[in-house]
């Protein structure tokens, strides 16, 4: 069965016919995902910003906190045929531009979104 987004409604007769109400993306067989990417300095690399913030936290009395690392949070929306394809693209984009593999690591989450208006 075809994967449809939450906005689209199947008719009572089938799982996909001309009577079914589909959004533009589902008509094209595309899905929309939101990716949330986190980029942090590699653990082997000194993070003076993280150290300074950790020092600030200790000054406020939060002495139980340690290991502060500062990173970047990037969000983007991606229109693809499948989740696998979305994952592949986000990984590649993160390696090629969003992070610098010389000094940074990245991780990301993907979640389906209904339409660009909801992105």
């Amino acid at each position: 069965m075809r994967v449809l987004c939450d906005l689209c409604v199947l008719c009572v007769l089938c799982d996909l016919c001309v009577l079914c109400v589909l959004c533009v993306l589902c008509v094209k067989g595309l899905q929309l995902f939101k990716a949330k990417i986190t980029v942090t300095l590699r653990t082997s690399i000194l993070d003076p910003q993280g150290k300074a913030v950790e020092h600030g936290l200790h000054s406020l009395g939060y002495t139980s906190i340690s290991g502060v690392r500062i990173g970047k949070h990037i969000e983007l929306v991606i229109e693809t045929e499948s989740r696998d394809e979305a994952e592949r693209i986000v990984k590649e984009a993160s390696e090629r531009l969003l992070s610098n593999p010389v000094m940074e690591d990245f991780s990301f989450t993907l979640e389906p979104v209904k339409s660009t208006a909801h992105a």
Binding site: L41, I45, L46, P48, V102, M103
Partner: protein
């Protein structure tokens, strides 16, 4: 002798382009022209200078966006063909992001923007950019950056050191590479490095700001003079043959 033709790249946010132009044209009497980053060809130049500044506002990472400018494709071609390229400060950051030089430049260890004169030791007097210098010669050059901490993985660092590709190191006025002389926390006190072919130099200090005698320091001239001399030698050999 022919004048050496310097092409100076200009990105949105470059701010040392005119300093570089002035240093090589007015002070060293060579030819210089600006090359807007949207151009697709370097044209007829002998040397490419990627000047300092804050290209694209340092968005994402310093130099990360500049490397996608149309002109960079031709810079990569020029460098791969052995053409001399010198990246100063933001130019150094762009060269690492473009993959023409290894490693990366991170936020200074102090987290402060550092603007002062530093001393650097010439590590490779045989290099094309430092041939008029003596081994171990100490130059006084200005730095002005917030993200100049040179970082590379252990393998890369070993290769750079082993292959004699560390061009400049931060030192004391006496030439000692000690932690106190390191303004930004760079690994091994590295201030500038060369690519494998020795034709691409990236450095954080600004030699172009230490060229005009009016400014009281002409140590930076040596970098450009070395380059100019390399063309004179090439021309002389060419005329003999």
């Amino acid at each position: 002798m022919h004048k050496v033709k310097f092409g100076i790249l200009v990105f949105p946010g470059s701010n040392c382009d005119h300093d570089a132009h002035d240093a090589v044209s007015s002070v060293l009497s060579q030819e210089a022209r600006f090359i807007w980053h949207k151009e697709s060809s370097l044209g007829d130049v002998d040397v490419v200078v990627i000047p300092g500044g804050f290209s694209y506002g340092d968005y994402l990472r310093c130099g990360a966006i500049a490397r996608f400018s149309p002109i960079m494709q031709d810079v990569v071609r020029f460098a791969r063909a052995g053409g001399p390229v010198i990246g100063i400060c933001n130019g150094f950051q762009i060269l690492t992001e473009a993959g023409l030089l290894p490693g990366a430049l991170l936020r200074n260890e102090s987290l402060r923007f550092v603007c002062k004169d530093v001393y650097v030791r010439v590590e490779q007097p045989g290099a094309r950019f430092t041939s008029v210098c003596a081994r171990g010669e100490v130059l006084r050059l200005p730095i002005a950056h917030g993200e100049g901490r040179y970082v590379a993985d252990a393998d890369t660092l070993r290769r750079l050191e082993g292959e004699g590709r560390v061009a400049f190191r931060y030192v004391t006025p006496e030439g000692e590479a000690v932690p106190e002389a390191n303004p930004n926390g760079s690994m091994n006190n590295i201030a500038g490095i060369l690519n494998e072919g020795g034709n691409v130099l990236g450095l954080m200090p600004h030699p172009e700001r230490a060229c005009d005698p009016l400014l009281g320091n002409t140590d930076g001239q040596k970098v450009f003079q070395s380059l100019i001399q390399s063309f004179a030698v090439h021309e002389a050999v060419h005329n003999l043959s």
